[in-house]
Amino acid sequence: MTDVMSPSLTPIPDESGKRSLVARYASLPAWARWATAAAIGVFVLSAVQTFGGDDTTVLTEPGTSGAMLRFSVPILLAALGGLFAERAGVVNIGLEGMMILGTWFGAWGTVNFGSPWAGVICGFVGGALGGLLHAVATVSFGVDHIISGVAINILAPGLMRFMSDQMTIKTNARLDAGNEPAFPFKWQGGSITQSPRAGGLPKIDVPFLAGGKLPGSDERTYNLFGEIDSANIFFVSDIAGIFEGFLNQLSMFTVLAFLLVPISGWVLWKTALGLRIRICGERPEAGESLGVNIYLHKYIGVIMSGGMAGLAGAFITMELSNVYREGQTTGRGFIGLAALIFGNWRPVGLMLGSLLFGYPFVLALRDNTGLGTHSLLLVIAIALLATLAWSIQRQNRNDAIIAGVLASAVLLWWGFSDAAPDWLPNAMPYVTVLLVLIFMSQRLRMPAADGQIYRKGS
């Protein structure tokens, strides 16, 4: 497989006589290229924050990076869901709907079984049921993948609204009769649009690195990253602050989600099952001639996909808002797909994509003054200028013109305003996705048979 990946936000500092540097970068293994890209991204962020003139530390403070980790998880899980489905050759636009199933089932499981772990499992199962539906429609009946996905997105909110309504009615009936609500109707305090409180998995501070406590002891251990962060060294402290945020109040759910990245990679690329799933997405006819049960493996891929989307939904409910609420997913299923595209249908890449797309969600929440988003404009301008340089070097005139025009516009906006208007942070996640896709979409390689309807014996 040819690897044509190249993170678009990687600035090439100087295009004259540095070809060997570019070549050397391109020959690095994927994880190292992505790590370099991320480090350069942080460098730009901290440089802008320090020298950009806005009185804000919101861009790189530990709270932001911790929140970024948490807000990227739903996108990450949705993207992993997309990975399983699309590697099996089925486009899953229904991720958003399956995520909605996950939000409700996550809350319901947590409340009714009294354990967040049950919520995690229920969220997975709820989403997987949505995946099963998608598989029945697309694989067995050959319905167009996008049409089936859209139909699931329409069905899911109505279904969950109905279920909440049933929960509320039955719970209140028991309460009115003087009885304690019992399984499966422990919905007291909930309503048709909202569940009772559903807390998340336990959180830890990692010992030694972020000053967490050791099991069985009350003393806080050494806070390595915290110390470096308070030393206030340019860039180094910012990096340390980011890691401190990652490791502080770290939810087990977040750990689980990020563990699923290497696990998914291992399953899909190192096991026989994964090979069979991937052949469904590349050359199903070839797979069938080798005796692979294509339908079965497409089913596995799509059901796994739904399960991951369900986990994404459960995460939103349990970790981000501690309650199920209607309309909670706000398009993050689709952003997951964008992260999947950004990552060129690969696990490590889509993880970076979700961190990138999770970031503006956090700023929207934490940046009350608009100063952080104002600084972000400069970051975007720098990224666009880097893309401009990169395009010139590759002699891609169209890319260069678009990047140049956009960069100048953003720079002007940054220069002529003091703070970002308050609507901008809310729109920023979606703008970021579009900006990134503008420069990414064209040089990627999706699974060859992705989105095609396969019929046995064809």
Partner: protein, 379 residues
């Protein structure tokens, strides 16, 4: 021969009927499980719908849904998924209402035309953006239109509605109300010629006429024009269409622009005959429901009309169920979802049966012919 015609008719009508029957069956099971009597629920729904006032309500609900579904169907016809009708119609309605409120005192026809033109232009622009991103940058239109939805609603409208608000202090602030010259009359007078007087302040929206024009234009465009033929061709087989001289990129742009212009009209019932402005409680969700209706009606102008009426009927039913208490009103939401999903599957299942039958009859025909020839020679 007669037999196969019969079969074709049954198969053609079969898919939607089977889908609705399946949805009713499944909803009945859900109703029984939730402890309600499905027959009394359906009885209430039908009795309610037979009232003239409810019928007016259903038409009022079906009107924007129909336009929205046609907007989606234009794209679907060539496998282009404009999921962004939602954002396009909201943005269009916002700018159209703002323009209508700003240009007060125009002559009536001019005023209404101005509002309609602004709406179509804004809708086309917003959809065209997604089209341009697809054509020039290869961005999948599903993702870009969804992102543009959020940018339109959470960004542009949220920003400008406060800048342009008539009364910033009000809890439900919105654009300046459109004065009478920019309002369209109700159709009550025409309906009342044939029926009794419509009571309870119900007014049949005259945007219904616009919806009918849109439907007829869509039919003529798709079935009677060159570009419409190219649309269908590139939806059916893009490679063959390209070989036949249909430029795929230009087709994508046309489809997005026309679809967006149509989407711009979705909010007009609300702007021209109901609310006369765009405010915080402007009706949302018509875009996604319209997609459902388009799927239900199989992108066919008449089918979409039936689908829109069905959705209007279901929406109206949720109110009566709430009043009579014979079932939870939320059952309606489930019925909508199930009908769409089962219709989509049923259409596909039927087309597979048809394909198989055709293959079978073709095989039979060749078999019949092959031995027949030597016999003739012998005779």
């Amino acid at each position: 021969m007669n037999d196969s015609l019969m079969k074709r008719l049954v198969l053609g009508a079969g898919a939607p009927v089977a889908a609705v029957a399946f949805a009713v069956g499944l909803s009945s099971i859900v109703l029984l499980l939730s402890g309600s009597n499905p027959f009394s629920a359906y009885g209430d729904m039908i009795e309610n719908a037979s009232r003239l006032e409810t019928f007016v309500d259903i038409l009022n609900e079906a009107t924007p849904l129909y336009i929205s579904a046609v907007a989606a169907a234009i794209g679907f016809r060539m496998n282009l998924f404009n999921i962004g009708v939602e954002g396009q119609y909201l943005l269009a309605a916002f700018f159209a209402a703002a323009a209508g409120g700003y240009f007060a005192g125009l002559p009536p026809v001019l005023h209404v035309s101005l509002i309609l033109i602004v709406a179509m232009f804004v809708g086309a622009f917003w959809a065209g953006l997604a089209g341009a991103l697809k054509v020039t940058r290869g961005i999948n239109e599903v993702i870009s239109t969804i992102m543009l939805n959020f940018i339109a609603v959470g960004g542009i409208i949220a920003w400008l509605i406060r800048e342009w608000a008539d009364d910033t202090g009000a809890t439900n602030s919105g654009t300046t109300p459109i004065d009478e010259s920019g309002q369209m009359p109700s159709l009550n007078g025409i309906v009342e010629i044939f029926t009794r007087e419509i009571s309870k302040g119900r007014e049949l929206t005259s945007v219904l006429l616009i919806a009918i024009i849109v439907g007829v234009a869509y039919h003529l465009f798709i079935n009677r024009t060159r570009v419409g033929f190219d649309f269908r061709a590139s939806g059916f087989n893009p490679l063959a269409a390209r070989a036949g001289g249909v430029p795929p990129k230009r087709m994508v742009m046309y489809a997005m622009l026309i679809s967006g212009a149509c989407a711009g009209l979705v909010g007009m019932a609300e702007v021209l005959t109901e609310r006369y402005k765009y405010d915080q409680s402007f009706i949302q969700g018509l875009g996604f429901n319209g997609i459902a209706v388009a799927l239900l009606g199989r992108n066919n102008p008449a089918g979409i009309a039936i689908g829109a009426l069905l959705f209007g009927f279901l929406n109206q039913s949720s109110g009566i169920l709430q009043i009579t208490g014979s079932a939870t009103p939320e059952i309606v939401e489930i019925m909508k979802g199930i009908i769409v999903l089962s219709a989509v599957i049923a259409y596909e299942a039927v087309s597979r049966i048809k394909e198989r039958d055709e293959a079978k009859s073709a095989a039979e025909a060749t078999e019949r012919q092959a031995p027949a020839e030597p016999e003739e020679v012998l005779a």
